[in-house]
């Protein structure tokens, strides 16, 4: 039923807005308090994330085969 479907979307949107409102104060705190990372730190993080991406690509190839 299209009308109830719209209500479900509004409820979903309300849920996401609630999460943004909840996270906002924590975000402000984290922006202020987070220490700065060196370029070596960011390189390590990037390497780990590349590893995660490659692993997901492997999983995708597994479910496609």
């Amino acid at each position: 039923m299209p009308e109830s479907f719209d209500w479900f979307k509004i409820a979903q949107a309300g849920f996401v807005i609630m999460m943004i409102l909840f996270i906002w104060p924590r975000a402000k705190h984290m922006w202020k308090e987070s220490p700065k990372g060196s370029s070596k730190d960011w390189t390590t993080y990037a390497a780990l994330m590349i590893g995660v991406v490659l692993f997901i690509l492997l999983l995708i190839s597994m479910v496609r085969s």
Partner: protein, 222 residues
């Protein structure tokens, strides 16, 4: 001024406390994951409506925001963690049921489950063995999370499949970063409460699992 002996004693006490938080966190995390799987199974039998499933997530988020901060330092906090993870597991029932009724659904669900576990073990294990500090990523990760939420909000109404796929990939990247960040905080003594540490790690795992399920569901569907 502290004598070298008192510094050494305090340092070893601090390490012991950190190890205790780590041990309790992983133990509670394992138990909550099992409980979550149990409530997801119940949900698959009961087949709640999408509204009830979303309602379970609403209540779980309400418990995280309003009840957990007040109870995290008491025994009631453990019951609250089980309530949160049980409700989130229950909300997964319809989506799991949907995938399990597709042609290679069981393979997709099991691959997503195994993949989530492998990502968590690899990233958490990396922090535990190297003791590297990833707390510098806090601001970056929370910014990414807010951007994802904003795009998610738009996509609820726009319903663009490519954006949905990109958001799932983004959530996996951000939650993987949060695994590094949260584990780092426990290891370095920034997080001393195992109840809130468990909820943080559980949410990382939950979001990776749901997003991975969506990605594998899209690519695994002929």
């Amino acid at each position: 001024m502290n004598s070298p002996q008192s510094v050494v004693t305090r340092s070893s006490e601090s390490i012991l406390a950190t190890n205790k938080v780590l041990k309790n966190t992983y133990m509670l995390l394992a138990l909550t994951l099992l409980f979550s799987a149990f409530t997801a199974w119940i949900s698959m039998q009961v087949m709640p409506s999408r509204g009830l499933s979303l309602g379970a997530s609403f209540v779980a988020m309400g418990l995280i925001w309003l009840v957990l901060p007040r109870t995290a330092h008491s025994a009631i906090g453990i019951a609250v963690v089980f309530a949160i993870t049980g409700l989130l597991g229950y909300s997964l029932g319809p989506i799991l049921s949907y995938y399990l009724h597709t042609a290679n659904g069981a393979q997709i669900v099991m691959t997503a489950l195994g993949g989530t576990g492998a990502i968590f073990l690899a990233l958490s294990g990396y922090v535990l063995t190297t003791k590297k500090d990833f707390t510098f990523m806090g601001g970056f990760l929370i910014t990414g999370l807010l951007v994802v939420f904003g795009a998610m909000l738009l996509n609820i109404f726009l319903n663009i499949p490519a954006l949905s796929l990109a958001l799932s990939a983004g959530v996996i990247m951000i939650m993987s970063g949060f695994i590094l960040y949260d584990t780092s905080r426990i290891v370095r003594g920034g997080e001393t409460n195992y109840i809130s540490a468990t909820v943080s790690l559980y949410l990382n795992l939950y979001n990776i699992f749901v997003s991975l399920l969506q990605i594998l569901g899209i690519f695994g569907d002929d």
